[in-house]
Symmetry: C2
Subunit: 810 residues, 2 copies
Amino acid sequence: MENSSTFDNMTGLTHDRPVQTSSFCQQVASVDAAGNYDVVNNVVIPTPGAPDPRAQNSLRQSWEMNYQEAAIYLQEGENNDKFFTHPRNAQALSAYLFAHNHLFYVMELLTAVLLMLLSLSEAPAVPFLRLDVYVHASLELLALATVAFELCMKLRWLGFHTFIRHKRTMVKASVLFIQFIEAIVVLVRQTSHLRVTRALRPIFLVDCRYCGAVRRNLRQIFQSLPPFIDILLLLLFFMVIFAILGFCLFSANTADPYFSTLENSIVSLFVLVTTANFPDVMMPAYSKNRWSCIFFIVYLSIELYFIMNLLLAVVFDTFNGVEKMKFKSLLLHKRSAVEHAFQLLVGRQRPDGVCLKQFDGLMRFYRPRMTARDRFLTFKALNRSGASMLSLQDFYKLYEVIGLKWKARRSGEHWFDDLPRTAFLILKGINLLVKSKAFQYAMYLVVAINGIWILVETNMLNDGVAWTHVVPWSYIIFLTIYGVEVLLKITGLGPLKYFSSGWNLFDFSVTVFAFLGLIALAFDMEPFYFIVVLRPFQLLRLFKIKQRYRNVLDTMFELFPRMASLGLTLIIFYYSFAIVGMEFFADVVYPNCCNTSTVADSYRQINVTIGNRTILDEGYYYLNNFNNILSSFVTLFELTVVNNWYITMEGVTSQTTHWSRLYFMTFYIVTMVVMTIIVAFILDAFVFRMNYSRKNREPLDDPEDEKGIVFETEVSQTEALQTLDLYKHTLGVTNLSSLQDMCVALERSGHSSLVFLGRRSRTKSDLSMKMYEEEIQEWYEEYSRTNLQPDETSHRELDSPEVSAANSIN
Amino acid sequence: MENSSTFDNMTGLTHDRPVQTSSFCQQVASVDAAGNYDVVNNVVIPTPGAPDPRAQNSLRQSWEMNYQEAAIYLQEGENNDKFFTHPRNAQALSAYLFAHNHLFYVMELLTAVLLMLLSLSEAPAVPFLRLDVYVHASLELLALATVAFELCMKLRWLGFHTFIRHKRTMVKASVLFIQFIEAIVVLVRQTSHLRVTRALRPIFLVDCRYCGAVRRNLRQIFQSLPPFIDILLLLLFFMVIFAILGFCLFSANTADPYFSTLENSIVSLFVLVTTANFPDVMMPAYSKNRWSCIFFIVYLSIELYFIMNLLLAVVFDTFNGVEKMKFKSLLLHKRSAVEHAFQLLVGRQRPDGVCLKQFDGLMRFYRPRMTARDRFLTFKALNRSGASMLSLQDFYKLYEVIGLKWKARRSGEHWFDDLPRTAFLILKGINLLVKSKAFQYAMYLVVAINGIWILVETNMLNDGVAWTHVVPWSYIIFLTIYGVEVLLKITGLGPLKYFSSGWNLFDFSVTVFAFLGLIALAFDMEPFYFIVVLRPFQLLRLFKIKQRYRNVLDTMFELFPRMASLGLTLIIFYYSFAIVGMEFFADVVYPNCCNTSTVADSYRQINVTIGNRTILDEGYYYLNNFNNILSSFVTLFELTVVNNWYITMEGVTSQTTHWSRLYFMTFYIVTMVVMTIIVAFILDAFVFRMNYSRKNREPLDDPEDEKGIVFETEVSQTEALQTLDLYKHTLGVTNLSSLQDMCVALERSGHSSLVFLGRRSRTKSDLSMKMYEEEIQEWYEEYSRTNLQPDETSHRELDSPEVSAANSIN
């Protein structure tokens, strides 16, 4: 780039050279001729007219390098990787490429999952999964070695300095080190010691490429913490004040165990914030003096109804802010990545546009699976101005079009348009039938009747008679109706259109499940029982009728990925707490264990004789234990639901020490944070979505309407042939069948051009783009003011039509 | 107004005539000269130069009528009364005036409260408040007669047609009718029958003038209902589906009482949504098969964590919209009221401005308690343009300045500026001391030490020793420090400034209470015990330190009125449910009542012998009954908190019928609605407030800063004297001491003018005004487009400066 002025006059050359060369190549050059960065890729300057094959080859190599680096930039933009981790030289590049493909990611993930799953088989193991110490310790060592190998690759790619600066990686490395030593100790001693550090294992999972969403959630949780803690302090403060008050007021009552000491008072009031011991905690005092209820009413009004809601308000507010900031930074990061990539793709002759050739080269690295036709169509979709090259403004939209699935728009409306006349008429009739309102409402009616039928049938089973293995005739009738409906719809709409609607997919799968259930019933297969039982889910279809439900369910599907990642985040917290719980509380509770505690009843298991009948009076709570990781998870879920959690706490406490309460209280506060975040997320998402609907007055009336992002591109016959030619001769791409198919289709259709539709489903980011439309413009301006890079100064004439128009398609 | 053209040339006349005459006068006129509305108040047209006293008098009367009607319009605007209930003639006016003063309002309120309180003494009465049937029935008849009298006044004022059209009044009348008959029946039979209609009594309270906020809340609740019900149906739907599933899966297990029948399944899962029976409901199934926990986890995830939050989101969203709409309609209603009043106040000579004389006349009716000085200052505050008359634009701001408390700005900074030198220096020193950061933080330190001291002291009391009646020395020391602090602050800042800060008031009252506690301790007065116990609240002062807490607490105080009205709304629901509960479930539960139900343990009261010690094993839940209205309220509060509510439900159900569950489930759903609204309100208010702070970047750093609305008005000496003169001679107002005081103060100060400050605390409406600033402008435009009234056409030259400038101050 530095001596680009030398080549400024070389216009009209077929083989343009990149304005900026890949940093990998520069590095290579610098190795060859130390200190002399101006030597550009050992390229002999080609003379016009008679291109030297060696020079051409080397030039192509140089372009390839640029494509690759641009693809890496785009990848970094997509993954929100910071650019300071960008590979700096050829060696780093190879490590980068090794560490950035799905195979490597899957290995990373599997290792992390394996490490976490090991706790199923370690010391307090799930009975049927117990492994010998040397087996699970060896497995652990193996997994840890894999992690170490992955870290080495990262070190190679990042370089030592960047590696040390990267906090997450350093934490991972140190945890790895500790785990390694501990695993060896376990292997040597042939017995597990107190290994609380296992609680840190989720770090490996969090660091996986595929768990980016979990990382973001964790960051968001940590960002919401400061205001949360402030309000939490207020909560705890009132708790202590009321504990002192309660102790003073009620400790004189010997029948009141809840306020007998100050510690008991504090614990009782802590539990009371969760409402788990209400109204029991009030009862002894209440039975002595009816006015004592005022103490509890005031306490609950302040703590539960005011401060807890305040907590939600504060978190909700912070969450909103953080969401917006996150969206902004991601957007600007992507923009910057696109700019970097653009710099690498423009040629010296046309420094303000990317032509198809370069774009295609980029896509071959960035999306290797994409067909030549799709690459071409994506280029066309970006190229809104109609000029032959993409300006930077066009190129900014890259991330919006990259995920599109392209399909030629059908010339006819129906899939059966080409069939013979009779078939056409029949199918047309079916089509009209299944699209009619009457058909739809008839089906709703059938489903409703089915629902009532199931209810009545189940209610008649009340006498405890188990399932008969005779298939009830109602089952067969309704299933037949559903089956006919599915068949009609598939034939009427065509399989493609039918299966492209989420609701139809739901109908289809429920019907298939019901059919499988029928088979299970008919052939008397016990294990498939549950399928029969899932029948009532058929009724969910009824919720298609009302607009609001469709809205809610659609939003639910749009938000599902985020919800799943929040769930995973919760599971990671569970895992850590489960490990700690297992290490300290495994096997401490058992039937009749806690007879000295206040919750003895819940742990009791005795035979009681009433009249002349002996029945087993079970407390069952001994089942809520930390005896293995599965039980721990269930116990922790019960603690999350909060009701009666103090029974588990008191049971464990009575068998261990008072300090055990700290574990349970900490867990409560942590889940409260996570749950509040989840509530805030759902609130935010739905309120956002509803605002969006209001703002854009979406016509959400048609239930079969696909609500996604659609791009249209028209391709003319000449253009298609030209492109095919270009790909064949210039680019040397071998697999051109997709392009050839397009040309054939064009020819066969008889039209001079064909419209292609690119579709993808809408994401939260698309919604945000529309919601913050005005602010985004401001962000961009602010960004370009502060981030105006030296490279960009050479692109002042961005979008000037004369320049773009002067260039040809390649 | 119709023949106003006749008088158009009469400028320069001292006694101007109103453009529009009060509708009361018109009515009078129409009585005098039927059909001839043009005869304006029997006024003989005065001849210039020699005003006829009779004509003047009658003119004054005409103006007085106008003032009164304008005041009524303003009142209607303030109270959000629709204008179609505006009194139409002189007779209606007298009824209106009778029914619109605080005495009448208080009577209304007292009657309603008396009616509600009667349930304390009726049939299932609170023991020490029991009254004979003829006593409480007579009281009721008396109260109902009062209500009937109030209704008659309303009928007189509204006229029959409007009365019938007014829905709320009609409902009230019919309820009154039923109650009347029932009360007479009770009196005749000398015994209470099943009187569920008593549950309707809160209607009388809701209809009170002072309960406008409650009415608004109820309206908001009803408006949020449709989306709420939609989501509730989704919730119930999943409940039924899972009940069928659960019944199929778990009914085979005879040890599982929760899913033995379909009804039990539904009830169990309904209770499970409230989490009240978790994990117990899972335990029998879980102990048989560990994987059955999946059923419960999935159910809770869908119902509790998803749909319940969705409910909140939907209500929150609706609530937001309703809040905004409500604000808009109130604002426009007020604007319209101001316009109506303006029309009545302008004179024929100056049809586009209101001068002080008219304004003063209005205020004498609208705010009879206001002093002449304050009326004058309010006029000045409105009169921003500096012209001698208020234009309509000025007048629009009326509601913003009407509540201001006026005070002359002190010339000096301190209250002790006028004291002799020595005293001044000492007080100045104290002033600097109490304002210093060091002093503040020293006090925080003392409070913190006090807190720790109390905690340690209380903890040392753990051995159950009751309070000694010796005053602990620490108590005296800390109290002395606080006392000294209060005295220093009062002397340093001056009592006025000290008590104007909410935080200081809090400090002061806590210290006074502590002092009272000390006396109670010293003189051994048992009943005042609780004061001693309130000591820890002193610690609340610590929360002044941090910005966020100040913010939260300030917001809390700003929102307190709304919160209180929401609380009152909840109590009204409680009342109705309590009455129904008492009618059906009074005295159904008692110790050992429910031995056949699943919750027998909670109602058991037996002596258990463990070893050689006999202890009373109490279930206590028989205390949660509907035996009188106070118990019912406590029981309903327990049901609101939700935890273990099913024990109360099952207890009552086992003693009555299955249908009793309907009562409890309905109550749960109703409180869920109200509680969700409360949560939505708190969320909305805080998020709104935080956005407001961010948007306006408030300097909230100074804890002593008063955050209110402040208006400034400068009054010159000549102006003051002129005004005094005007009031004395022209208006004939007798009580002018306030104005005279002002003149004296002006003279004494030696300055030519004095600045007065008008303050009031900020309300939610002020915040909304600022938040919706831009939208408000749009609303106004839209409003004036659609509502352009014929009266306004005569005021096209609004705000034209020439017209205003031509007029003198009176």
